[in-house]
Symmetry: C2
Subunit: 560 residues, 2 copies
């Protein structure tokens, strides 16, 4: 991780150019990485198995978290980890977002279920900070910043998943200026638990006589306990039985005229939530990277102790066998996942750095570049790396043979846990629509073409960079001369671009990975076998998808 | 299923050319399909959920199967289903293998866990029939043919999974001509259960002074109970906790000098097992097809009742939403899986028909053609369709959004259950090595090129056939002019072909699917929207992988 931060991305130099992070040198970054690694390995990782097997338990509206979860969480917030990147005036440490990113990657690798609890804090913090009234802020901001109280995002309803505009939860004005919330929300991660003494719910609801659709939604805040200690009319009706992620209670929450405060303007509820979407989607992308890293570590270790069959060209005698790491079928799986993780880190950490730039850089033009990066890269990161977490973890399971299907080794848990990340925070298909239909077609591809230009200026003259540049040029020509004219033609079928969206996102993901591997390849020390094997893995087993995606889009454009 | 059997494959005509199946007309086939569908839907399918949630339970060496499993199995064997394709002189009905194939596809779709129990019978029956002594046959053949007793295959040991040559279980000759078996076998499906009154174990073990490796292995038979009612020294030590397939107990079996009979010649244990490998791998391929069909049915039904967002070009008003089946992202998933299932049926049923031909055709040359088909197509079917069962079921889960991750809908169970089929009966990587290194390189590609020639003669002149033919010609040229010369060159690296194997199998899978879709397209009635949508799905979303695989092999040959 440090190699990528320091040698590939020059993160210390990038950060030190930002006034609040003048002290963020390599030593500081290394120290935070060491400390977070220690906490995660010693306190959080050992709880992962019980989190899956015992899971969160619901009884009479209360949720008991798996053994050790509360103690670990109490230690976590008291050590200041949730507030790592929060502003000092809110009780935070004011460190860069990129160090929060590396922390959450580690946490997700170690214990995805446990990590769901603090994972929502950052968004709630930003939301309260930027939209809540001073009165609400004085009561809730520091509690949420420090993580002393955990928070939820209550968006989804039984009939309204991806389509928040269908929300029906009602908010009726009360005499005291508050609102009575009534309705049912589902899939609320951490809606109820025993990790903290209070829980702060941010709820999307509809004021009386508000217009139908998304513009009629407002945002409200209701805690589990009010300041006077009375309990709000918010009830956890049950928790879902799920494929995985058993350490995180997925709650059905009922609001029975619960007294709540409005956050921000009426009818601006979605705006308040969308402002934190890039950060939240980056977090989910980091979950994907962390989970894939965990799967790779398990499979890599197993491949170095298990012996089966003679590898091609082996000198093993009859009745003897080679380590399975020597078999091409196993090597291929491991090197390809390594290629995904390493490139994912480059893309994700760079995105976090751009978030830091966006927040703190003095130059508006530079902030605009950062904004472009975040808007375009974040949906790709979220989609491609959560997809790979699941599919790559399954590939790593294959390395174990029959033992992979057995719980004991822990690899099948990663496959089950990771699956949900392809769905939440906007399904991966919605990320693709976001990239192509919302962020590329409307400006005639201008922003994306600019981004690709900028990426090309970072390339060198080596073979890897040449291949990356050729891919970018091919894609640029395809986008400008073929996709855009055809998809935006007056006579184009209304659904043409939708049919292309998944392939488009995957092609961009391949380009980002190619760029990342060219950057890694140019870094001092990248000639070590560990990096060379993964780079070869990328070009051989991952990159060929790029041509396939362009060909698929081309065929769709011809057919459409 | 009947459309493919009758209109695409002309199964009745094919079968009626074989003396034992002169009566196998379309009516008979339809009747067996109807009856098996009825039994599966009414008796077996309703037990699937409990099979997963309650699962098989181990206590003190005994295994209790999930509720209803024993009754369903007793009804199953008493109705004659296990003996469907067994010879009449062994107590069977003598029906063609292709009708056993359709039965097992349905069973796997309905309840993969339950189906594991009878799924092993066919192999055990063939093994006893062709290799056991008359004494053994008189005691066990009919019991296994009819399924009154279930059977196991005890191959794997803790240190010997894919590499059976490493087996250590010992067989020491006893004074009475039997052998005392000692050792531990793992991953024994149905090693212990309460479905039948007796269980027949077929066990690979090593005689004293036998050579190391696979040539030192012999096959033995030991029942749970001997004829006099005494229990053998075979103990189920525990069952595994698994990712899925909880309805099938995966047993650790300990043999404590258990008195057993030898089956076949000493040192020929693997031959005795390999003879039934094509049939067993076809069965696993059918599991894949059945599971994918089940996943598709669930997702298709959900897409026709769930409304989210407005589809492109929709006339829905603000605040309204369209059925998700109208969204391209959903359509694409459904049509692609439909393309896999339909093509899988063509390939699998054809393979089963070729097994019937191989068994009963009077002409040796025709039997040779059938043998070639089975040898080459079976590993592709096993690998590509079990891979797709898992990945396609996961794609179908995505159609449900967050609801797919919740147990309630049953789709996540299919993802979990299906994962193991990529591993057992030879991992999918081993299927690829089998196809390329054992069945293609040694004869200079002669058999595979002949098969591709034969497939081309079945193609027409329509557009679909033209595309298929172009693909086959490209592959043929690549194999003959590029792959074979390079991979078999004197200076080729020893592992070169191994690096290619996975891509090679996938490319052949694409060609088989293209052939299948051309055959379907030429069948009367294939102009119905249901077939057209799936055919379009194939060419758009599946077939582009063919070019990618050829390109990957080409790059590997250049690099190696």
């Amino acid at each position: 991780m440090m190699f990528i931060l320091q040698q590939v991305l020059q993160a210390p130099q990038q950060l030190q150019a930002l006034p609040p992070h003048a002290e963020a040198d390599a030593d500081l970054m290394q120290q935070v990485l060491d400390e977070s690694g220690k906490f995660v390995a010693e306190v959080v990782a050992p709880l992962n198995r019980d989190g899956d097997e015992i899971g969160a338990q619901w009884k009479d509206g209360a949720v008991t978290m798996p053994p050790g979860f509360r103690d670990a969480y109490q230690a976590f917030w008291q050590a200041g980890w949730p507030a790592l990147a929060c502003a000092p005036e809110d009780g935070g440490q004011g460190l860069p977002a990129v160090l929060e990113a590396t922390l959450y990657e580690m946490l997700s690798a170690a214990n995805h279920g446990w990590t769901m609890a603090p994972g929502l804090l950052h968004g709630a913090y930003e939301c309260i900070k930027h939209h809540a009234s001073d009165e609400l802020k004085s009561a809730y901001l520091e509690k949420v910043a420090t993580g002393e109280w955990l928070a939820t995002m209550c968006l989804t309803e039984p009939h309204a998943g991806s389509d928040l505009g269908l929300c029906r939860t009602k908010a009726v004005p009360m005499a005291d200026g508050r609102y009575a919330l009534s309705g049912t929300k589902i899939f609320i991660s951490g809606g109820e638990h025993d990790l903290t003494d209070n829980i702060v719910h941010l709820v999307l609801a509809r004021l009386p006589d508000s217009p139908p659709g998304p513009k009629g939604l407002s945002l409200f805040l209701v805690p589990k306990f009010y300041a006077d200690g009375t309990r709000s009319a918010v009830v956890c009706e049950r928790i879902e039985e799920k494929m995985g992620l058993h350490g995180s209670p997925t709650c059905v929450m009922r609001f029975d005229e619960a007294a709540a405060w409005i956050v921000g303007e009426p009818g601006k509820g979605l705006n308040a939530m969308f402002i934190m979407m890039n950060a939240a989607r980056l977090h989910v992308g980091l979950q994907g990277i962390g989970l894939l890293e965990a799967a790779w570590q398990k499979a890599d270790a197993y491949s170095k102790e298990r012996r089966q069959m003679r590898a091609p060209g082996s000198s093993a005698k009859a009745g003897e066998a080679d380590l399975i790491e020597a078999h091409p079928a196993v090597r291929r799986i491991l090197d390809a996942q390594r290629a995904w993780v390493d490139a994912g880190r480059v893309v994700a950490y760079r995105t976090a750095l751009e978030l830091d730039v966006l927040k703190h850089h003095g130059d508006a033009a530079r902030r605009e570049v950062a904004n472009r990066w975040c808007a375009l890269v974040t949906p790709v990161l979220k989609s491609a790396w959560t997809d790979q977490a699941f599919h790559g973890a399954s590939a790593c399971l294959q390395v174990f043979g029959g033992h992979g299907f057995v719980r004991e080794w822990g690899i099948e848990q990663i496959v089950r846990d990771s699956r949900v990340a392809m769905i939440y925070e906007g399904t991966n298909e919605i990320q693709a629509i976001d990239l192509l239909l919302r962020k590329t077609l409307p400006d005639g591809g201008a922003a994306l073409l600019k981004l690709l230009d900028e990426l090309q200026t970072e390339l060198g003259l080596d073979l890897s960079s040449q291949r990356t540049r050729a891919g970018m040029e091919r894609f640029t020509a395809f986008l400008r001369d073929r996709l855009l004219p055809r998809a935006t033609a007056k006579d184009a079928p209304a659904d043409l671009a939708n049919w292309l969206a998944d392939d488009f996102l995957r092609a961009v993901a391949m380009l980002l990975m190619a760029w990342a591997w060219s950057r890694i390849g140019a870094a001092p020390g990248a000639d070590a076998p560990r990096w060379q094997a993964a780079q070869t893995g990328f070009w051989r087993w991952v990159w060929p998808e790029f041509d396939m995606r362009v060909a698929m889009m081309d065929a769709t454009l011809s057919a459409g």
